[in-house]
Symmetry: C2
Subunit: 224 residues, 2 copies
């Protein structure tokens, strides 16, 4: 392929990113942030992969889907690759995000700094419980779900973190979809279906513990 001799070129690829590769990009980025705070200037594919249990060839293949970031004989420039990956992942600009469901988990997520750090701005809080509506948490007022539609417009909300009970999840997700949301991070332990225009990532905490139990029972290699 034609390579540019100067600085690396990031691209959205041809729309064909292997699923498995996408999942590792975030890991690389997390590691690069760490290297950067440690003052590292460059890193090789084997060094980058080592701490994550990923082979050097795998790292190079993954990155190659998005452009030519490396320098033969040198490796990758930490700051440059970090910025490129942010751009690929879409976190080079902030994402306006709503939190729906202000129960135990919702409140914890509200206090979790990791979202803002990665470019996600919690811009609105919603709950169906009238007893919660109007309460102030972390400088924001909990609103009724009835205000979802108007707030999507007003605050340009794009993503929703769904922390409602399983029985309510599908219904609320559909409402968010109609309101124009494009992505849902679902914490409810149930399958949620939405149209093609909305992406969903689900995190079922109980399910993760179950997976751990399975690995402990059978001697599955976790890669250490």
């Amino acid at each position: 392929m034609g390579r540019s001799s100067a600085s690396a070129r990031s691209a959205s690829s041809d729309g064909t990113t292997p699923k498995a590769t996408a999942g590792r990009l975030s890991l690389y980025l997390r590691q690069l942030e760490l290297l950067w705070t440690d003052g590292r200037e460059t890193v090789s594919s084997s060094q980058l992969g080592e701490s994550l249990g990923i082979t050097d060839a795998q790292v190079r293949k993954d990155l190659a889907y998005f452009g030519q970031f490396g320098y033969p004989g040198i490796g990758y420039r930490v700051a440059e690759l970090r910025d490129s990956l942010k751009s690929v992942l879409g976190t080079d600009r902030p994402w306006q995000t709503a939190l729906i469901g202000i129960g135990n988990l919702g409140r914890a997520l509200l206090g979790y700094g990791g979202f803002r750090e990665r470019g996600f701005v919690l811009a609105a809080l919603f709950d169906q419980d009238a007893a919660l509506v109007g309460k102030k948490l972390h400088g924001m007022t909990v609103q009724s779900l009835d205000e979802l539609e108007s707030m999507v417009a007003k605050r340009n909300l794009e993503l929703v973190i769904l922390a409602v009970p399983a029985q309510a999840a599908q219904q609320v997700a559909e409402r968010a979809e109609r309101a124009g949301i494009t992505g849902i991070l679902n914490f409810a332990p149930t399958e949620v279906k939405v149209g093609q225009g909305v992406k969903i990532v689900s995190v079922d905490l109980g399910l993760q513990l179950e997976q751990l139990a399975f690995q402990v029972r059978h001697g599955a290699d976790s890669g250490g």
Copy 2:
């Protein structure tokens, strides 16, 4: 292979369960619990897969790794398959579990009913912060990490839910390992390394949002 004509036989397979299959077993189980509460007696592989976006052949292959659970012409008996999967996953008996790190996230996990429901018993709470030690939460007293070793013995603790800050995660994980823990569910947004005898499953919440952003940006199919 030789089949028994009577009821299905569950097995730990030959130790070779495809990684991908293991990840789906929990989904099947979750769906089966739902079907069971709905009063369904039997379910076919296509019905079971449909709601999860999984093909019928895939469902049959996955289940076949662990035995012959199905009845030709009928499908699978819901209650029987549910019990078999619980046995395969190891959640047919309770797992004694400790929660380490009683911050925002830790407290939320403490209030989350999904763990106990699936067979995980929170049997001890630990935190390094002296200001928290001695406090009572959900009927349990927060203990100093110094008591971890004795509590592992006293309460037969097997798993740890690690909800500590990233900087502390590695150190605490090693301590849990030395104490005899066999599995760690890690919520700290960092790589944690332990010996072969300890399994780790990591859940990085920020990373999940990043994956969602990536899917929204590029038009990745989430399977709907």
